[in-house]
């Protein structure tokens, strides 16, 4: 137990790649939290997929002890957060558990779209904000100019921003001092009934469900009986620990502290982030306000390649959802794909990450169907339908009109790419709302249909601006438009999983692109395959995949007999990863990749 005066809790927030995780490394290192030999770059990014992609996906917390210049030792609880827009929910959630934020800005890049978005989250959470200018070791860094930008664009005082290089370690001691002197200590009443916020939870194959909490009032000890206020589930605390970042057992956690516990929780659904945890008897009456639930905006079907793995997939999805409150799911059946789940995500990267994690962490191979947003279909008989899956689109003759979700997109872009960005937004049926300048950069605000954005807008934006633009968005509501369902036929057979909603004026271009893409993505077969896009019964685009011409192994002698057999078996197994539509095998990646419009 540490008294409140000696605790500081903070999150590190920034635009993607501005160096949050690297800054966390230096704080961990300088305070000796992790032995030098165990140190590695972005140590908090512990998932394989985070290490491979070099980005943070999950907010991660670590407890640090820091002997300050005032002679006192402080406990610092740091939460490193992701920067990508698809994981913004992790950031806003994390901020609720702490009192301050380190706002990291890359001094070579300046303020970006997520810098802004994160500041707003921090202000919403009543945070004290310490601006940190990172990467000052780079010759291209312009800390003074960026300071000005912070003041101009964000409107917060940057005169005492800390200048650091998270890479070389310059300025890190100043960051530690600023945390202690500039961020507020937490408040709380040790003698009040236990009131703790359920910040995060995950499934550990040894420990079962692990719950991360922030104690507001009261104390929690091993052996205590606790209650989850939303579900009324009661558990006994088996293990209580702090993260350093490995779990280290601790006797007790008091107000202001962050830690984890296990409690033989069987029902994964009993742990809901944002829930309040109190003691079983004479607990608090007043639950914490809870988190705003995340609103999934992109939906797709996930089906096991091997239908026998459906139950495994259900179990895996349950466990994974524990660790990611922003992801939603419900069962779905498809004629071609069997049993699976219709899942909701915050964006396409989020979708890819969840799919990847299911495949890796739970070893289930998946087929992903075309992502879609939710359409509101207004029927002639006065009823309304929420359409999550274009395959379920009712007959057009019964439909009065269709509304689609729109977003407000904020894009920051250097002048020289402005034209490309405007063109991209117009091409995606955007309506310009605002265009202002901040230094040598334009801030473009657009009203865009979400379905034009979810697939690959972010990738396209990065590519037309050579990575110099940044992007953030918010949902703003629904609007009617002339939408139609486009279906795809491969070898004359409709492939439901590839059908999509498109604007009528764009259907033809979209259909052509889709057929061209599929022609690239479907491997050649022994016969030629027509690929068509159609609206209702009318074919609007067509391509022909020519028959395979050569695949024979050039050399095959005595020693190759065994090898070749293995190869063919592998190919046969690979074929299982495809789905048969009539006589055609379509590889699983095709279902998503066919929708990307990088043409």
């Amino acid at each position: 137990m540490t008294d409140l005066e000696h605790i500081r809790n903070f999150s590190i927030v920034a635009h993607i790649d501005h160096g949050k995780s690297t800054l966390a490394d230096r704080l961990i290192q300088l305070t000796g939290t992790v032995a030098e030999r165990d140190m590695q770059a972005q140590i908090l990014d512990s998932m394989d997929i985070e290490r491979e992609r070099g980005i943070t996906i999950k907010a991660n917390s670590v407890r640090i002890e820091y002997p300050a210049k005032d002679g006192q030792t402080y406990i610092l609880n740091l939460i490193d957060t992701p920067g990508h827009v698809d994981f913004a929910y992790e950031v806003s959630r994390s901020m609720r558990a702490v009192e301050g934020s380190l706002l990291v800005v890359d001094a070579t890049q300046g303020v970006e779209a997520q810098t802004l978005a994160n500041v707003y989250h921090a202000i919403d959470a009543d945070h004290e904000i310490v601006p940190i200018l990172n990467k000052i070791d780079l010759p291209a860094s312009e800390p003074e100019k960026v300071c000005e930008q912070i003041e101009d664009v964000i409107g917060i005082d940057a005169s005492d921003a800390v200048h650091v290089s998270a890479k070389t370690g310059v300025g890190i001691p100043d960051v530690l001092e600023a945390i202690v002197t500039r961020l507020p200590a937490p408040k709380g009443d040790r003698d009040a009934p236990l009131k703790a916020m359920l910040v995060d939870s995950w499934y550990d194959s040894y420990l079962g469900v692990v719950v991360m909490i922030r104690v507001m009032d009261g104390t929690i000890k091993k052996g205590d009986r606790i209650r989850m206020m939303q579900t009324n589930a009661v558990y006994g605390v088996d293990k209580l620990a702090v993260l350093k970042p490995e779990m280290q057992d601790i006797k007790e956690l008091g107000p202001g502290e962050i830690g984890v516990f296990t409690a033989s929780i069987k029902q994964v659904r009993d742990t809901r982030v944002g829930d309040t945890i109190t003691s079983e008897k004479s607990g608090t009456e007043m639950a914490l306000p809870g988190f705003k639930p995340a609103q999934p905006v992109v939906f797709c079907g996930l089906f096991p390649v091997d239908n026998a793995e459906f139950e495994d997939l259900r179990d895996a999805i349950d466990k994974l959802a524990l660790n990611d409150a922003s992801f939603s799911f419900e069962m779905e059946t498809s004629a071609a794909l069997g049993f699976g789940f219709r899942c909701g995500f915050l964006g396409l990267l989020h979708l890819e990450v969840i799919r990847d994690r299911l495949e890796r962490e739970y070893d289930i191979e998946l087929i992903t169907t075309a992502p879609s947003v939710i359409y509101h279909v207004f029927m002639r008989d006065g009823t309304t339908l929420e359409l999550h899956n274009p395959a379920d689109m009712p007959d057009m003759t019964h439909v009065d009109h269709i509304e689609e979700p729109r977003i407000k997109a904020t894009i920051l872009v250097p002048d020289e790419y402005l034209g490309d960005v405007l063109k991209l937004c117009q091409d995606r049926r955007g309506i310009q709302i605002d265009l202002t300048y901040a230094g040598s950069r334009a801030m473009v605000v657009y009203d865009l249909p979400l379905n034009e954005v979810v697939f690959d807008f972010y990738d396209r934006l990065k590519s037309v601006t050579k990575g110099y633009a940044s992007f953030d968005y918010q949902m703003i509501g629904y609007r009617e438009d002339a939408l139609v369902k486009m279906s795809v036929l491969v070898n004359e057979e409709p492939v439901d999983a590839l059908s999509m909603m498109v604007h009528r004026d764009r259907a033809e271009a979209r259909g052509r692109l889709m057929c061209e893409k599929l022609k690239e993505l479907i491997p050649r077969h022994m016969f030629k395959i027509p690929i068509q896009a159609a609206i209702g019964g009318r074919v609007i685009a067509r391509e022909t995949l020519s028959a395979m011409r050569k695949d024979v192994t050039a050399k095959c002698y005595g020693g190759d007999a065994t090898r070749k057999k293995k190869l063919l078996e592998k190919q046969k197994k690979g074929k299982k990863k495809m789905r048969e539509f009539g006589r055609v095998s379509i590889p699983q990646e095709a279902f998503i990749n066919a929708l990307k419009m990088d043409g």
Partner: protein, 395 residues
């Protein structure tokens, strides 16, 4: 229709339909070529006397198991067997002849790289009993030879070839096509030149980018530009069929071309489902003993293999019996490579069931295969897509 009698003839001595050969693997090269994934190593010093003792001991061991057989072929493959001392080859051949009676048409092939150093040994090989030389030309222009990492020039290869033809009864050479930046007309020209030089046999391989080789790594990393796409590769393949047939060397296997009767008997053993013993590091074999067919394999590294033979008198890893269904799959995969095709009754006897007649009919209706009594073979249309044909036919 098959009589039950004919099935019995097929097993358990099925291998006799293919013959019996011995493969000797020599695992050393002067330098490793970037495309090659054969079991080859570059060594500073090789104690050829030690290799002689170990090879001969392995020959005697196999000989004891295969008493009463007549040996049809020997193949010295590599690596670069033309780096073996003629004395070593002679000693091996003496041991072979002392171990098995040899057939009247006994074929002894040695793979040779066409450098001058190696050509100097040709007479010695002939005196040892080698009667067929298979030379690795790979390309007929110097820049391409350099790109393939070869140590010889076209001129050297031609000199070595002339000497080889004067020395051996039968000489063949290998070319690799579908190389970087090679056009269809480049290949037609090169192949015509090859055909004007050739004796009665040619091996023409499409360049394969193998995982784990230097080319493989470059390819994965996005390097190695200018490789042909499937359509160009197919055009090159068809041009090869056309030019070779016109020159009297039609394909008798996917990549092998010969005048009538001039095919490689040893390689036909692989494709016709015969028995072969494999000795040397990483050598594979197929041996039918007391009615059971075994797959044999040896350790890959030279030192592991040598050590194993020296220590326990046997260079093989534990043998595995091949179940009938796998034998059938192997026979199908290998047998459809050659123009004569496979015997359906032999296949059925191995597999214990016949091939799916619906699939056969579909493939035949689309002219990928043809049947003729007991014979199933791929057509000129089916051969270039043989892997797909085999995938469709395999259960």
């Amino acid at each position: 229709m098959l009589s039950p009698n004919s099935l019995q003839v097929v097993l358990p001595e099925d291998w006799r339909a293919g013959g019996f050969g011995l493969y000797v693997h020599w695992p050393f090269c002067q330098a490793k070529c970037p495309y090659c994934d054969f079991n080859s190593h570059v060594a500073a010093e090789i104690d050829q006397n030690r290799w002689m003792r170990v090879y001969c001991s392995e020959i005697r061991r196999i000989g004891a198991e295969t008493q009463g057989r007549i040996l049809d072929t020997v193949f010295f493959g590599g690596g670069t067997p033309s780096l073996m001392n003629p004395d070593l080859v002679a000693e091996i051949m003496d041991t072979i002849r002392a171990t098995w009676p040899t057939s009247n048409s006994f074929e002894v092939t040695l793979e040779a790289n066409p450098t001058s150093v190696e050509a100097a040994r040709f007479h010695g090989y002939r005196d040892a009993g080698v009667n067929r030389l298979s030379m690795g030309f790979q390309a007929l222009n110097d820049p391409d030879l350099r790109a393939l990492g070869r140590l010889h020039t076209v001129a050297e290869a031609q000199t070595a070839f002339t000497l080889a033809r004067d020395t051996f009864d039968r000489v063949s050479f290998d070319l690799i096509y579908a190389r970087q930046n090679q056009t269809l007309s480049d290949w037609r020209r090169e192949l015509s030149k090859a055909l004007s030089m050739a004796a009665d046999h040619l091996s023409l391989y499409q360049l394969t980018i193998e995982d784990g080789t230097a080319f493989g790594k470059r390819h994965t990393a996005g390097g190695l530009p200018g490789l042909p796409d499937e359509d160009l590769a197919a055009d090159m393949y068809f041009a090869t069929q056309e030019l070779c047939a016109k020159a009297g060397l039609p394909a008798y296997e996917v990549s092998n071309h010969a005048a009538a009767g001039a095919h490689s008997r040893h390689n036909l053993i692989y494709w016709q489902g015969g028995d072969y013993a494999g000795i040397g590091p990483g050598a594979h074999g197929r041996l039918t003993l007391n009615g059971t067919r075994f797959a044999t394999e040896t350790p890959l590294t030279p030192s592991a293999w040598l050590g194993k033979v020296e220590k326990i008198g046997n260079g093989e890893n534990p043998r595995t019996a091949i179940p009938g269904s796998d034998q059938a799959a192997e026979y199908l995969m290998m047998g459809l490579r050659i123009s004569e095709g496979i015997s359906l009754s032999r296949h059925a006897a191995m597999a214990n069931i016949s091939l799916n007649s619906n699939i056969i009919n579909e493939l035949r209706d689309n002219r990928f295969i043809e049947t003729d009594g007991d014979t199933l073979r791929v057509t000129a249309k089916g051969r270039p897509v043989l892997n797909a044909v085999i995938r469709a036919l395999l259960p």
